[in-house]
């Protein structure tokens, strides 16, 4: 029997091993980058050389974060701040809109009416199965007949994020709605609540704890997906760091490192927050006392306002800028809804008309199996039996 090593010694050993592994890897990486940046030569396996290069790299990082400026005298931390502001603006404006449109889509795809269900399903499947990047390029560069007040980088970016994420949120919300027992809504209707009251008071409060983790996850994804907006001339965090690298190439690595750190700082606390809120709701400390529907709507509204505020701070806090921001927000909402309605009509027509014809042809033979088989809409009988 081997004698067990005491716990403090084991802990110290593990800590030392971790420090050695992470420290050595990061020192080697940073030293190599510094050697490349400074065009010097040196053997990195020599500890003194390695330490001096690593320290120089860290010093350069601190310099980039504090006093380094571009040729026009704009400090680089302002680049990064403006980039973070735009990232937060796009995410906080797009996510509430995506949730609301996703809720509408989920209600439509759970509807018994085929003319509502087919377009919603077609829209969701189409937007989930095509790349976000291509959708963005298509919206931005193939809708050029629209006036620039309706189609600019801001509205196109928001519309892309909203439409794509609405499809994903629709699936989340549908899963949440399906997880709720059907007896809940039946009982509510027996008690005399209307359809709207049932949704608002019974269904949605039970749905929110279920969909909260995937929705928060999607918000974190959206932070990262908003980096593609750099391709349509939005200077968000990724583009800001690239600009920084272009303006002073000897700080390129520091720029990428800082941008990555900021993305991590944005997403990690949000994950913790999501876990905390989820625990609060599950332990019914929050759920029992508060009206979750109103709380959720309020949260979404506050998110949009925070996003707008970030956008206004970018250009300066004046009355005119606030009015402009609201105008752009309304244009973005209009563009998103217009594209969504158009795509639903188009795709719903493409899928729904052949489907309806097929069902019409098959109706006299066997109604039930035809409806059950009809394009994979399992179990939902849409064709009225005679």
């Amino acid at each position: 029997m081997v004698k067990r090593i005491p716990a403090p010694v084991r802990f110290a050993g593990v800590a030392a091993a971790l420090i050695v592994i992470f420290g050595a890897c990061s020192m080697f990486l940073l030293g190599a980058m510094d050697i490349y940046q400074t065009s010097q030569t040196g053997n990195l396996f020599n500890p003194t050389v390695l330490l001096s290069h690593t320290l120089h790299f860290l010093q350069q990082t601190w310099y980039a974060l504090t006093i380094a400026t571009d040729r026009a005298g704009v400090p680089y931390h302002e680049y990064l701040l403006l980039g973070v502001g735009l990232t937060i603006e796009f995410c906080f404006i797009s996510m509430p809109l995506a949730l609301i449109l996703g809720f509408v889509l989920a209600m439509m795809s759970r509807s018994r009416a085929r003319w509502l269900r087919t377009p919603a399903r077609a829209f969701v499947e189409f937007f989930r199965n095509t790349p976000l990047l291509v959708q963005m390029l298509a919206i931005y560069s193939a809708l050029i007949f629209l006036p620039p007040s309706l189609l600019n980088a801001f509205t196109a970016g928001v519309a892309t994020l909203v439409l794509n994420y609405a499809a994903y949120e629709c699936e989340n919300i549908r899963a949440g709605l399906e997880a709720i027992d059907i007896g809940q809504s039946e009982a509510a209707q027996v008690l005399g609540l209307s359809q709207l009251q049932t949704t608002r008071l019974i269904i949605v409060p039970q749905m929110i704890p279920i969909i909260l983790p995937p929705v928060m996850n999607d918000l974190i994804y959206m932070y990262k997906d908003s980096s593609i907006l750099s391709l349509i001339t939005v200077i968000e965090l990724t583009q800001a760091s690239q600009n920084m690298g272009h303006n002073s190439p000897n700080l390129q690595w520091q720029a990428y490192l800082l941008a990555g750190a900021i993305y991590l700082l944005l997403s990690l606390p949000l994950a913790r927050l999501a876990r905390w809120v989820e625990g609060q709701i599950k332990s019914s400390r929050l759920g029992a006392r508060t009206d979750l529907t109103s709380a959720a709507l309020l949260t979404l509204g506050v998110m949009v306002l925070v996003g707008l505020f970030c956008g206004v701070l970018e250009v300066g806090l004046t009355f005119g800028n606030i009015v402009d921001a609201f105008g752009e927000l309304i244009a973005a909402i209009g563009l998103s809804v217009a594209i969504m309605v158009f795509m639903m009509a188009l795709l719903g027509g493409l899928v729904g008309i052949p489907q309806a014809l097929w069902l019409f042809i098959r109706r006299p033979h066997d109604v039930d199996s035809g409806a059950a088989e009809g394009q994979g809409q399992a179990g939902s009988v849409a064709v009225m039996p005679k």
């Binding site: 971790l18 190599a32 990724t238 990555g260």
Partner: protein, 268 residues
């Protein structure tokens, strides 16, 4: 027919670009699983060092955007390899082709290093996501199963191979497929590194045309191809799930992933 003339002219090139997309996503999926399996198992390891190294990998990669990672791999790792080891991927590939006397295979446009670092960066990114899927799938198998297997005298590796993994694989299939679908979609990011796959090829056609109708032709074609690729994979996965749900018979782990019936190939 003259209305569709642009897309008919571009059809062969676009199909070639589609082939690039398909091949790079297949390579990406395989390489991502190569990264994911050690990382996923490493996060469940009892060894603190292995666990924290794989946690560091997963959390860092999941916390930063793919676009930034690709840019770092391409503009960073390529130049670092050049500066430190004097290793140039383009030159190495060219020399390799020269050794085979096949220099005509060298791509006329784009660069080899672009697609190399793009596939590598994409797989490195998705390795982290898939590691989480694998970890969640293994954790979702009930603990009693492992305890029962261990008390029956199976070794840890036997327990993993015969008891836990066959059940975990069934749980993992839907999220894995979702990740594969997003991986196929994310090959569109390769256009940032100048890889002529479907989206960049289409965009080069789009950029020289000002007519909205023709632009829409190109985009519709591209979107339809992506839709076919991704939705096809989704349908295969759905069929696989349904069949697995219907017949909970014992199936070999090594044939379970095949999208067709294997009873004729393998006698259980």
């Amino acid at each position: 027919m003259s209305f569709f003339a642009p897309i008919i002219t571009a059809f062969p090139t676009l199909m070639q670009a589609t082939l690039t997309t398909i091949l790079s996503s297949i390579a990406g999926i395989i390489l991502a699983m190569v990264f994911a399996i050690p990382a996923g198992l490493g996060r469940l390891s009892r060894n603190t060092v292995i666990r924290s190294v794989s946690s560091f990998y997963v959390e860092t990669i999941r916390g930063t955007p793919l676009l930034l990672q690709l840019v770092v791999w391409y503009y960073g790792a390529r130049i670092l390899l050049l500066a430190l080891f004097n290793f140039n991927v383009d030159v190495a590939y060219f020399n390799f082709l020269t050794a085979l006397d096949a220099n005509t295979l060298y791509p006329a446009e784009g660069s080899v290093s672009g697609i190399f670092f793009a596939v590598f960066g994409l797989s490195f990114n998705y390795g982290a996501y898939l590691a989480e899927v694998i970890r969640a799938g293994i954790l979702a198998v009930e603990g009693g199963q492992t305890e029962a297997a261990l008390s029956l005298g199976l070794s840890r590796w036997q327990t993993m191979r015969l008891i836990v993994l066959p059940q975990a694989l069934r749980i993992m299939v839907p999220p894995l497929t979702n990740n594969f679908i997003t991986l196929i979609q994310d090959t569109a990011f390769f256009e940032v590194l100048g890889v002529y796959e479907l989206s960049l090829q289409t965009y080069t056609y789009v950029q020289v045309v000002s007519s909205v109708a023709i632009r829409w032709q190109y985009f519709a074609f591209e979107l339809i191809i992506y839709f076919i690729l991704c939705y096809g994979l989704a349908l295969i996965a759905r069929r696989f799930e349904r069949r697995n749900g219907q017949s909970p018979t014992r199936r070999s782990l090594w044939t379970a992933w095949m999208p067709f019936r294997t009873s004729r190939l393998v006698q259980h």
